[in-house]
C-alpha cells in the first residue's frame, strides 16, 4: 500500500518536518521518483520494527480514539430506566430489590453486581446528601456490560444510607459502567445535576419518565456548553 508523507508522519507519531528530515538524511526506506518519493507500507513497517519504533496506520489510530469517547448521561439513564416504589427498610434490601428490577442486566450477573454494590457501600456510604444516593461497584464491570447504565430508583420509604448530612435517602441512582473513565464522567455529570436544588425537589415528586428525561437532557445541554459554575 502506498502512503503519503502525512500518513507516514501520523503512523510514526512524529511531525512531518521530522519525516522530511529523515528522508533527506536517508534514514527512511523510500523510493525516489523524479518529482517526489514513494512510501511503501510494508517496507516502512519492517523498518520501524527493526528500530523498535511505533508504527500503525492512521485508520487504526482514529478507531481507538473513537472508542475512548465516553457515554453521556441521558442515554445511560434511558438504558437503566426509572424504577418506582422500590421496597426495603435497609440499605441491603433496597439495593437487592433495585438490582433485581434492572431489566438490562442478565440474571447471572445480577448477583455479582449486588455484591459489588454492597462491598462498595461497606467501604464508604454512597449517600451524598439531600436524600440522594449513588450506589456503584468499586471496580468497573468491564466485559459484563457493553454500555454504561444508570437506574433511577425511587424508594417506597426513605432509607438511612449513613449519608454525610444524615438525611434518609428517597432516590438512588445505581451507576454501572464498563470502564473507570465512563464511571467518573457519569458520576461527575450526575453530581452536577444533584447540586441543583430545584432538581432534587423535582425528584421528590417521583416524576414520570418523559418529564424526567427532558430535565436531564436540559442539564446535559448546559454541561456541554461548559456552564458548570
Amino acid at each position: 500500500m502506498k502512503l503519503t508523507i502525512n500518513d507516514v508522519a501520523r503512523c510514526l507519531r512524529l511531525p512531518v518536518s521530522t519525516v522530511e528530515r529523515w528522508i533527506r538524511q536517508g534514514r527512511l526506506p523510500i523510493q525516489r521518483t523524479d518529482d517526489g518519493y514513494i512510501f511503501n507500507e510494508s517496507a516502512l513497517e519492517k523498518w520501524a520494527a527493526m528500530y523498535k519504533l511505533p508504527f500503525s496506520l492512521p485508520e487504526e489510530v482514529s478507531e481507538t480514539t473513537q472508542q475512548t469517547k465516553t457515554d453521556n448521561l441521558l442515554p445511560a439513564m434511558k438504558r437503566g430506566g426509572l424504577l418506582y416504589n422500590i421496597k426495603g427498610e435497609d440499605v441491603e434490601t433496597v439495593l437487592k430489590n433495585g438490582v433485581e428490577n434492572i431489566h438490562m442486566l442478565s440474571h447471572n450477573i445480577k448477583d455479582t453486581v449486588y455484591r459489588g454494590l454492597l462491598e462498595r457501600e461497606h467501604m464508604a456510604p454512597t449517600g451524598i446528601g439531600k436524600g440522594v444516593a449513588i450506589p456503584h461497584p468499586r471496580d468497573p464491570l468491564k466485559d459484563m456490560i457493553s454500555n454504561a447504565l444508570i437506574s433511577t430508583c425511587f424508594l417506597e420509604t426513605p432509607v438511612d444510607f449513613h449519608a454525610v448530612d444524615g438525611m434518609p435517602v428517597f432516590v438512588m441512582f445505581i451507576l454501572l459502567s464498563p470502564s473507570t473513565k465512563t464511571h467518573l464522567h457519569l458520576l461527575s455529570s450526575l453530581s452536577f445535576c444533584i447540586r441543583n436544588n430545584p432538581f432534587v425537589e423535582f425528584l421528590k415528586t417521583a416524576p414520570d419518565s418523559r418529564a424526567f428525561f427532558s430535565y436531564i437532557s436540559d442539564f446535559e445541554n448546559r454541561l456541554v456548553k461548559g456552564d458548570r459554575f
Partner: protein, 577 residues
C-alpha cells in the same frame, strides 16, 4: 528526457532497487577512480614543478621561490576561486558533521592547484590533505548529481578521502582507515564496504598510471627486544614533537593574523622565511618524500646536532608555510619530522648504547618516528600504524609501531584532548559524530518539538472562565496573548492558580493578567535545541514557550524532547538500512 531523468536516479535502477548497499558500492568505485586520478594529477604536477624549478636552485635568490609560490597560491584561493587557505581536512569533517557532506564542486580542483604552487615552489606542506578535499568534493558532487541522500553522500565523501589517501601513498588499508577514523567517524559495515572499495579503486588507478611502487622501500630490519623497548622513549619524543608542531602551527596562525598586510603578502613572508631556512637545511623544503626515503634507507648521514636542528627547522618551516597562508596538508611534513625525530633519537641512543648489543638501524627509528608523529598529530593510532606499515612494507616492525602509535596518541591526548584537525571544530561545537548527544540535539530542531495544542487565554479573562478552560485542556501551561494585538504577554501554569482554585470568591474578582508570569524565558524557532536545553537546565524549567515576532507559536517541553530524542537516538544508532 525520460532517459536523462532515469539516469539521475540510480536508486530506481532494477539492479539497485532491492538493496541500496549495492548502489553505494557502485558509486564508491566511481568516486575511488576519480580521486585516484586527482592524486595522480597532483603527484605528476609536483614532479613537473620540481623538475622545472631545479634549474634555478643554484641562484642566490632561490629563497624567494617558496614565497612567490605561497603568494600565488594564496592569491589564487582568495581572489580567483574565493576559498579559504588551510589544509582542508577540517572543512571536510565540518561539512560531514553539519551539512551532510555537502562540498562545493570547485573544491575538487582548487586545492590541487594552490597546493601544487605552494609545495612545488618549496613550501613545507603535504599534498595529501589537498587530495583528500578534492576526493571528498568529488564524492560529494557525484552524490549530489545522482540525488543521493545525506547518509549516502557522507559515505561517498569518505570514499573520496579513502581513494585519495590510498592512491597517493599506494596504501589501500591506510586510505580506508583514515577515511573511517578521521573523516566519517563511524565504524559501520554500511560505511566500511564502499570506503574499502573506493580505496582499492583509487590505488588501482595509481597502479595503472604510475606503476606499483612502494613509496619508501627499505632494507629488512633486525629487531630484538631491547630495540622494541627503546621505542617507548621514541614515543615520548615524538609526542613532544607533535605537541610542539601543533602549538607552533596555532601560534603562527595567531601571529600572522595580527599582521595587517593582505593575505598574499603574509603568505609570501612565510614562504620567504621557509626559503631562508631551506638555504641552510634543504631537508625542510617541499613535501620531503625524498628526504624520508634517504632516512629510511640509512642514507641520511648527518651528526646528531644537525639532525636535531633539522627536526626543529622542519617543524618551524611547516608552521611558517601553513600558518602564514600557504596551502597544503600536514601529512607529509609530519612524516618528515617523524623520521627526523627518529634519526635524532637513534643518534642519541648510539651515544649510550652498549657496544655488545646491536642497535637497530636509523631507518627503523625513522619509521617508528613517522608512525608516532602521524598518530600524535591526527590522534588516530590506526591510521598511523597502517599508513607507516603500508608505505614502507615494514611488516616486521608492526609491534614497535603499535607501541609507539598508541603511546604517542595517549600522551598527546592527555595534553591536547582534540587532534590538530578537530580542535577548532570541537571548540566551536561543530564536531558532531553520529549517535552522539550533540549530533542528536543538532539534528532536532525546534519546529519538530513544538506542541501546538495549547489553549490561548487573554489577560482580561476572569478566573471563573479560565477554570472552565482548564477542564478542556490537556496541558498545564496556558499562554496569555493580548486580545487586540495578539502579542504574547506571558504564561500561566496551573501551579499559579492552585491557591485560588478552591476559593469561589476569587473566581469573579481575579483577572488572568494579574496572575500570569511575565516576562518569561522564551525560545525562537531558529534556536539550537542544545542551547534551549541548556537554558532550561540552567533555569530549572520544564517547558518554554516558542515565540516568533512576539507571537506565540507553541510550547516545547522536556517530555517531548525526551520522546523525540529517544526516537532519534534509536534511528541513528541501531543497525543502519
Amino acid at each position: 528526457m525520460r532517459i536523462l531523468k532515469w539516469w539521475r536516479y540510480p536508486g530506481n535502477w532494477p539492479i539497485f532497487r532491492f538493496d541500496d548497499r549495492l548502489l553505494l558500492i557502485f558509486m564508491a568505485a566511481i568516486v575511488g577512480c576519480f580521486s585516484g586520478l586527482a592524486s595522480v594529477a597532483l603527484n605528476r604536477s609536483l614532479v613537473m614543478m620540481a623538475d622545472w624549478l631545479d634549474h634555478y636552485r643554484h641562484y642566490w635568490w632561490v629563497f624567494v621561490l617558496p614565497g612567490v609560490g605561497a603568494a600565488l597560491s594564496s592569491l589564487f584561493l582568495e581572489k580567483v576561486v574565493k576559498e579559504g587557505a588551510g589544509h582542508g581536512v577540517p572543512e571536510v569533517i565540518y561539512s560531514v558533521s553539519r551539512h551532510g557532506g555537502l562540498l562545493r564542486f570547485r573544491s575538487s580542483f582548487t586545492r590541487l592547484i594552490s597546493s601544487c604552487l605552494t609545495i612545488g615552489s618549496g613550501g613545507s606542506a603535504g599534498p595529501e590533505a589537498p587530495v583528500v578535499i578534492s576526493g571528498a568534493a568529488i564524492g560529494s558532487n557525484i552524490a549530489r548529481y545522482f540525488s543521493l541522500n545525506d547518509r549516502q553522500r557522507v559515505t561517498l565523501v569518505g570514499c573520496g578521502a579513502a581513494g585519495a589517501i590510498g592512491s597517493i601513498f599506494n596504501a589501500p588499508i591506510a586510505g580506508m582507515v583514515f577515511a573511517i577514523e578521521v573523516i566519517v567517524g563511524e565504524w559501520k559495515a554500511v560505511n566500511i564496504a564502499p570506503i574499502a572499495i573506493a580505496s582499492v579503486f583509487g590505488v588501482e588507478i595509481s597502479h595503472i598510471l604510475q606503476g606499483d611502487q612502494i613509496p619508501f622501500g627499505h632494507h629488512v630490519f633486525k629487531i630484538d627486544y631491547l630495540n622494541i623497548a627503546a621505542s617507548i622513549g621514541l614515543a615520548v619524543l615524538s609526542a613532544g614533537a607533535s605537541l610542539f608542531q601543533t602549538y607552533l602551527l596555532r601560534s603562527m596562525h595567531t601571529v600572522s593574523h595580527k599582521v595587517t598586510a593582505p593575505l598574499w603578502i603574509r603568505a609570501a613572508i612565510g614562504g620567504c622565511a621557509v626559503g631562508v631556512i631551506g638555504l641552510f637545511l634543504p631537508v625542510v623544503l617541499g613535501e620531503g618524500y625524498h628526504s624520508i626515503h634517504m632516512m629510511i634507507t640509512d642514507r641520511y648521514h648527518q651528526v646528531l646536532l644537525i639532525v636535531a636542528l633539522a627536526s626543529f627547522a622542519k617543524i618551524a618551516a611547516t608552521a611558517l608555510t601553513l600558518g602564514w597562508g600557504g596551502s597544503g596538508g600536514i601529512f607529509a611534513p609530519c612524516l618528515v619530522v617523524g623520521s627526523l625525530v627518529g634519526v635524532t633519537y637513534h643518534h642519541f641512543l648510539a651515544l649510550f648504547w652498549p657496544p655488545s648489543i646491536s642497535l637497530g638501524n636509523e631507518g627503523y627509528y625513522a619509521l617508528l618516528g613517522m608512525a608516532g608523529m602521524i598518530s600524535g598529530m591526527l590522534q588516530a593510532p590506526l591510521t598511523g600504524i597502517f599508513l607507516i606499515i603500508e608505505i614502507t612494507h615494514g611488516w616486521e616492525v608492526i609491534i614497535p609501531a603499535i607501541i609507539v602509535s598508541v603511546l604517542t596518541t595517549t600522551i598527546c591526548h592527555y595534553f591536547e584532548p582534540a587532534s590538530y584537525y578537530l580542535r577548532d571544530l570541537v571548540e566551536h561545537g561543530h564536531l558532531l559524530r553520529p549517535g552522539t548527544d550533540a549530533r542528536i540535539l543538532s539534528d532536532l530542531n525546534i519546529s519538530e518539538l513544538l506542541e501546538r495544542d495549547c489553549i490561548i487565554v487573554h489577560p482580561s479573562m476572569l478566573l471563573r472562565d479560565f477554570i472552565g478552560i482548564i477542564k478542556q485542556s490537556h496541558r498545564n501551561y496556558f499562554p496569555v496573548e493580548d486580545e487586540k494585538t495578539g502579542e504574547f504577554l506571558g504564561i500561566i501554569h496551573l501551579d499559579d492558580i492552585r491557591p485560588y482554585l478552591f476559593d469561589p470568591v476569587m473566581y469573579d474578582t481575579v483577572f488572568l493578567g494579574q496572575i500570569m508570569k511575565a516576562p518569561v524565558e522564551v525560545a525562537y524557532p531558529d534556536d539550537d535545541v542544545l542551547d534551549v536545553v541548556r537554558k532550561m537546565e540552567a533555569k530549572g524549567l520544564y517547558s518554554m514557550p516558542v515565540v516568533v515576532n512576539n507571537r506565540f507559536m507553541g510550547l516545547i517541553s522536556k517530555a517531548t524532547i525526551l520522546d523525540k530524542y529517544r526516537k532519534e537516538l534509536m534511528v541513528q544508532t541501531c543497525r543502519s538500512i
